[in-house]
């Protein structure tokens, strides 16, 4: 079963546990500025929205890379950056429509979410299940269930 990250902004409290977990997993430090997942706060609306790579099937970044440094990981569907191949040209950062692949000036390479090889640290760290790692074929299941629960089909018995 292929899984994907599923984000429910309505559950997010903006605590940044995901960003600290991501930076620890990938950079061995607590450093939100190096996180592959970012939480955006829309203060005046009281909204918090986590955002990261959705692992497109036809990944723009992968297609655009001139040195084939971005490759499909067949085990979980993630598109991973081979940092020893990456030349830091940043074409992928232009190609990605969502902005979720970014250049790291400290290393001269790009960084993006690789689903931590199939056990995403952000989802584990999230205290409210705003970020979960679930069956890619049924990411809408919880939402469907919630709507189903609201239907008025009480019996007259």
């Amino acid at each position: 079963m292929q899984k994907s990250l599923h984000i429910d902004p309505g559950k997010c409290t903006g605590c940044l546990q995901c960003e600290t977990a991501c930076s620890l997993e990938n950079e061995a430090m607590f450093n939100p500025s190096k996180s592959r997942i970012k939480v955006f706060t829309f203060h005046d609306e009281g909204r918090f929205v986590p955002y990261t790579c959705t692992q497109c099937d036809e990944a723009w970044c992968m297609q655009a890379c001139p040195v084939d440094a971005i490759v499909l990981n067949p085990s979980n569907g993630s598109k991973d950056v081979l940092s020893d191949v990456c030349v830091g040209c940043k074409v992928c950062t232009i190609a990605c429509p969502f902005g979720t692949i970014n250049y790291n000036a400290d290393t001269g390479k790009v960084i993006k979410c690789d689903l931590c090889g199939g056990d995403p640290a952000c989802a584990t760290a999230c205290p409210t299940d705003a970020i979960s790692y679930i069956d890619a074929n049924a990411t809408g299941l919880d939402k469907m269930r919630a709507w189903a629960a609201k239907t008025d089909n009480a019996s007259n018995a």
Binding site: C15, Q17, E27, F30, S33, H43
Partner: protein, 618 residues
Amino acid sequence: MAWTRKLLRVNLTAGTCTEEALNMTWANDYLGQRGLATRYLVEEIDPQCDPLGPDNKFIMATGPLTGTNASTGGRYSCLCKSPLTNTLACSNSGGFFGAEMKFAGWDMIIFEGKSAGPVYLNVENDKAELLSADALWGKSVWEADKILRSTHQDPQIRIAAVGRSAEEGNLYAAVVNDLHRAAGRSGVGTVMASKNLKAVVIRGTKGIANVADPKTFMDTVAAGKAVLAENPVTGQGLPTYGTQVLMNVINEVGAMPTRNMRETQFEGAAEVSGEAMHEPRKSDGKPNLTTNGACYACTIACGRISTIDRTHFSVKDKPEYWIASGGLEYEAAWALGPDTGVDDIDALTYVNFLCNEDGMDPISFGSTVAAAMELFEEGAITTEHTDGVELKFGSAEALCWAAEMTAKGEGFGKDIGLGSKRLCEKYGRPELSMTVKGQEFPAYDPRGIQGMGLAYATSNRGACHLRGYTVASEILGIPEKTDPLETAGKPGLVKAFQDATAAVDSAGLCVFTTFAWTMDDIAPQVDAACEGDWSTERMMEVGERIWNMERAFNLAAGVGGDQDTLPARLLSEEANSGPAKGKVAGLGDMLPEYYELRGWNSDGTLTDATKEKFGLPA
């Protein structure tokens, strides 16, 4: 090791920013944040100094766990000598500013001297510079935040600033970070503004990579998060209702200070409670509460994000307040509500917004308005003083007017900015001030929760709930239930809470974790993050050392045992309703035993043996 081992010293007189190694001997004795920064203050300032003069210093300090992913590990404190109390001031704040300081590579920033003109400090990792704040002076915190974001064009900066109340000398001005988190109490914002320092802007991208034992640390953090999630208070009560979960509870036990503490129960408590914040309002069907929000790394998320009813008189012509922002926490809701007799939740939310916008402690503000209302009812203050406003208990209009005037330091707002003690002295009725050491009470009447009477009287920053929250034991049964109407056993309870809290603060964690965590949950996280052995016993010893050091500073500042007392109203006027009916605060039954447990003399001074035991500075 979790400390960055570096502090930034900013001399505002000379305009210099200098890097300095953190004193690790002191870090071993005082851990960080509250404790460590107090050690620096004790070393560097004269306890007798003028709090608003250039000889006072102003410190922003993080703890070793600040910036890690330990739950709630984002706290920092602002420290200085307080202009409100003349004691040590140490006010703790959450949000994201403290963690950013750490990511930029600094454990602490010490401000000294006084700038000739308005400045702000801009920090980008190792680079620190003082820049002109001419364009910011005279602006609210919210306006200054906008201007700074426009100037720096970096959406990821974190900002702490003071508002117009601080500039105008309001004695309980706060330092506000991230728009609505505040180092609220004791006038730390007043001191910051007295140095012509308007704001601190920080961007940190260096991160924290030096946790001593990362594997063990992550295990202890995960265990801690699980404890918080499973506990009914931190896992359900606080996320759902915030600290406002207490409004109805405290009212029912008869410990709700009402109308300047004349009464101990408020008939309108339910109207301004955490539950009421969930109720859809008539005008637009939306509740007061938009969502709950967390501070950095916090897995509790008690923060309230609220809106005001757009049709409410306070904001109907002011679309700038039709936004979601920091809503009512219990202490603010109490001071602005029950203590002034106002049961209008939109008025309270509006005033809370103003307190954030211009950096005022809502506890001290609300309590001072309550005192002013009693002075008005007693005829000591008249409409001549108030531009015709009927400053009566229960008047939402008067409360909103007072907040607008005080936020800007205009007219009668100047008087309210003096705080309750100086206001009541000015109008000839000092007995009406509900303060200890000049600081206003928080939301627990010591006639109904006896341990809090002792906690208030002996708090090292004047009346305060965050120095020894025995409410946890006396009302909520954490860690075990004690009878709130009894004084027996309370001296030991107060001491234990005071020492533990000092250690929790100094780690960089939030004291709200202790609804679920004991020191046995906290010490392993500190132990894994920091070098050396940090056992529960050592944490408690550090907490007790900090408490004694703070006390020693206050004694040297001239604030002694004679001020370990409560207003006569609480000692002699009986609670008039509820479970505590007929009770007064039994301070006299507790204080001598408390001094003895502390190892202090009967006049509240430290014995030589106690000083020696904790290795306090001479």
